[in-house]
């Protein structure tokens, strides 16, 4: 391990309502692999975005190769030799591998692009990296793993000195991960600095030299990988904070009827043989790391994405759900994690949004009964304690918490009995979170059944009667709230099989 290539000191960044980075420091040496770990939302990505100029830091210093720097955009960072290999790849699908690697600096021969030279150079590059990819293949015909290899090759051919891998293994097969590790070890030999962001403990142990752990926007500490255990890292990630009133026992009495049963659901790579039951009045927590397949499971059950196989039973009866309309008429509802994109028509009023799922109920012949629409919406606005000057207010003008209430109200007006909340408190401030929690508890008491997908362990432990943990498209465990702990959930969430 050599001298320090990058030092980030006291980096501070605040977004409206969130202190995303709270004086975080980190350093990377030449010829080392530094793991950057933390729960979802701990601030890892934000930190990397500050480094590469996507976000501007509020304060703090970044020293790279002995000079203090502040990049204005990722391209500037790239020029200086700092490259991120993203989880979502930035590849131009319709061009070939070689064309992608040399984009923006094509060799010319008499005014024309010298494709033959590009192919030769790409081949040489791949040989050096011991990667087997045909440079003339179209990029969109490669597997995600191979595309990632190309991105790495591109970075190296641009004389990268510091490479950041942002959850590189999430989409890779085991064999591809091995190959990736071989490349990373090679890069380490060549004295490059490497930051490796991942959730997977076994990988961290295998490939990294040091681990920097972040939690809630703070740097919690740095460990030497070979001197620490998996439990040490998990403990640092979750900390020892006491969260407000976690549930200690299930509110669902034994023998409560099952309202929703999913059996052997398969839908692509992210939903593999998923089976579970949901009882009346239960809040069933779905925990897991980003990309565990929870949202995909919900969408498959709701008919938003195609299922390959699997049956769904509602109140003991098998139902056919292939489209969202069928799910809605069966009493299901899905509150998307991305309200703005999938849950609301932002530039429409509360009323228009609220009655969207069940407009026929408000129609007399073919005309919408605006008076009735307003009355009913007002009733739900009062019930949900939605803060707004009036029901004609445009949704875009409401706060995040109140927008979420509009989504909830919309489904309640539609008479949904089973509510799937996907990250119900994402982007909502603390006070409004409490209200959403209370509301969910009240709905459960009234006999509504709730599936709550959440990436926040505290939320899962506080709200759930029972917890299902997923990892890579499979259910890796089920815990009753009485026996659930953060450590147990984390263990299941990182269990690869």
């Amino acid at each position: 391990m050599g001298e320090i290539i990058l030092t980030m000191k006291d980096i501070d960044k605040t977004f409206p309502g969130v202190h995303a980075l709270d004086h975080v420091s980190l350093d990377v040496k030449k010829g080392e692999v530094l793991a950057l770990m933390g729960e979802n939302g701990a601030g890892k990505s934000t930190l990397m975005k500050v480094l590469t100029g996507i976000y501007k830091k509020d304060s703090g210093t970044i020293t790279y190769e002995g000079r203090e720097i502040e990049f204005k955009n990722p391209h500037e960072a790239q020029e200086a030799g700092i490259v991120i290999v993203h989880q979502e790849l930035n590849m131009i699908g319709h061009l070939t591998v070689a064309q992608n690697i040399f984009i923006g600096r094509e060799p010319l021969n008499g005014g024309l692009i010298d494709d033959a030279k590009m192919n030769r150079d790409a081949k040489k590059l791949f040989e050096k990296l011991k990667i087997e990819i045909d440079p003339t293949e179209k990029m969109n015909l490669l597997t995600i793993g191979k595309q990632q290899m190309c991105e790495i090759a591109k970075a190296i051919s641009r004389n990268a000195k510091l490479i950041i891998f942002d959850e590189p293994s999430a989409a890779l097969t085991d064999a591809e991960i091995e190959q990736l590790f071989t490349i990373i070890r090679d890069l380490r030999e060549q004295q490059l600095g490497i930051i490796y962001i991942s959730h997977r403990m076994d990988e961290i142990k295998k490939i990294t030299d040091r681990v920097t752990v972040m939690r809630d926007g703070c740097n919690v500490g740095t460990l030497i990988t070979k001197d620490c255990t998996k439990d040490d890292i998990i403990n640092m990630m979750i900390g020892h904070v006491i969260y407000a009133a976690p549930k200690t026992e299930s509110h669902v009495k034994p023998g409560t009827p099952v309202v929703l049963k999913a059996e052997h659901i398969n839908a692509g790579r992210m939903v593999r043989d998923v089976s579970f039951e949901l009882h009346k009045g239960e809040i069933l927590g779905f925990s897991g790391l980003m990309g565990a397949g929870r949202t995909e499971t919900a969408r498959a059950i709701f008919g938003a994405d195609a299922r390959e196989s699997g049956d769904i039973y509602i109140n003991g009866e098998k139902v056919k759900i292939t489209r969202p309309e069928e799910a809605v008429s069966a009493g299901l509802s899905y509150l998307s994690e991305d309200r703005k994109q999938f849950g609301l028509a932002l530039k429409k009023s509360i009323v228009e949004n609220s009655t969207l799922t069940c407009l026929p109920k408000f129609c007399r012949r073919q005309f919408i009964d605006k008076k009735k629409e307003k009355e009913v919406t007002q009733k739900y606005v009062d019930m949900l304690q939605l803060k707004t000057p009036g029901v004609d207010q445009l949704v875009i003008n409401l706060s995040g918490g109140n927008q979420q209430k509009v989504v909830i109200g919309k489904w309640l007006i539609g008479d949904a009995d089973i509510l799937i909340f996907d990250e119900p408190t994402r982007g909502i401030d603390v006070g409004a979170k409490e209200e959403i929690y209370e509301l969910m508890n009240r709905l459960a008491d009234e006999g509504k059944s709730i599936i709550m997908i959440s990436s926040e362990l505290a939320e899962i432990l506080r709200m759930s009667d029972r917890i299902i943990v997923m990892c890579e498209g499979k259910i890796t465990g089920e815990l009753d709230i009485a026996e659930a702990t953060q450590a147990k959930i984390m263990n299941l969430a990182t269990m690869r099989n």
């Binding site: 391209h75 790239q78 930035n90 699908g93 319709h94 061009l95 984009i103 692009i113």
Partner: protein
């Protein structure tokens, strides 16, 4: 996301026939054979002349619009542009008494000018191409009439001063009309094909339509290449205007709307994807050939204008369906 067997697998021949260009080529042959068998009068030399007359300006427009289409954009101002610029050319020649050569130059420059305007608006203000070019389409429609005082345009006829312009695309020899424009078209097709496939211009325009953000992050000036794409389209609209003026005797101001649809339709039938990143000049040529064959051939089998519209529409839907299906196969 495993794709062990990709869509373009198999032998080179099979690959050709799985591509949209291959399908378009097969369709062209089938259409030709069909018309030759079905209609005796189609088997005449004059058919080729008619076909060429119609094809020249549509083909030039289609080659031009292939570039914005590949960037996932579009240019709707082609049709009214062709009429407007050729009327302005006529005004320069007839009312201002300039030589035909100057008229041609101004016609081309008008096309380039509006191409640049389209490109700058789309690249720097980031307005949607559909809206931007819909507006310039209206602007040029009005502009032609205003500049020329509502007069219709005529370019010099054969025999009169400057009549050589009528011989650019066809010459008379031994009482027969020889469509020498075909040679021009072949030269242009080859040049544009090389530009699209072998130069930075083509490479970046394809990349722009495939993944603009990735191109930007690679340090390429995306605004500049967007403007280049629309300027190429404008240049070809100008060329199409000359072909149009040299083919027809009378140019009515305010017309031309709808011509762009034949050009865009041709490009799309030839495999240019409206979602960007895909397209070829050869494909565009075949697509225009199919549209032109339908236009000129159908009357011979007793199907008049209204039927041509219907059949062209159906062919377009089929072409876009193939494109969408192929796109879907690749992204799942």
């Amino acid at each position: 996301m495993e794709k062990k067997k990709n869509a373009a697998g198999g032998s080179p021949l099979a690959r050709v026939f799985k591509s949209q260009e291959g399908i378009a080529f097969a369709a062209t042959i089938i259409l030709f054979v069909f018309f030759i068998v079905a209609s005796k009068s189609f088997r005449r030399y004059t058919t080729i002349v008619t076909l060429c007359n119609y094809m020249y300006y549509i083909l030039l427009m289609a080659i031009g619009v292939t570039f914005p289409l590949i960037t996932a954009g579009v240019d709707l101002s082609l049709g009214t542009g062709v009429v407007c610029y050729s009327i302005i050319g006529s005004f320069i020649i007839n009312q201002m008494g300039m030589p035909v050569g100057v008229g041609m130059l101004v016609t081309i420059l008008m096309g380039v000018l509006f191409g640049v305007i389209n490109g700058v608006i789309i690249a720097t203000l980031e307005l949607p191409p559909f809206i931007t070019t819909l507006c310039t389409m209206m602007i040029v429609r009005g502009l032609g009439s205003i500049l020329t005082g509502g007069l219709s345009g005529v370019w010099p006829m054969e025999g009169s001063k400057g009549g050589w312009c009528r011989n650019i695309l066809k010459v008379k020899a031994n009482g027969k009309i020889i469509p020498i424009g075909i040679i021009w078209m072949i030269i242009i097709l080859v040049i544009m094909s090389v530009i699209l496939r072998k130069t930075k211009v083509g490479r970046y325009i394809i990349a722009l339509g495939s993944n603009k953000e990735a191109l930007r992050l690679s340090g390429v000036n995306v605004a500049k290449w967007t403007i280049v794409a629309y300027s190429i389209c404008g240049l070809f609209t100008g060329l199409a205007a000359i072909a149009y003026a040299c083919t027809f005797s009378n140019i009515t101001p305010g017309t031309g709307a709808g011509l762009e649809l034949d050009a865009i339709g041709g490009a799309i039938i030839g495999g240019t994807s409206m979602t960007g990143g895909v397209g070829s000049i050869a494909g565009t040529f075949l697509g225009v050939l199919i549209i032109s064959l339908l236009k000129t051939g159908l009357p011979y089998v007793g199907l008049q204008a209204n039927w041509q519209q219907i059949i062209t529409g159906i062919v377009l839907i089929a072409a876009v369906t193939i494109d969408v299906l192929q796109h879907r196969k690749k992204t799942t």
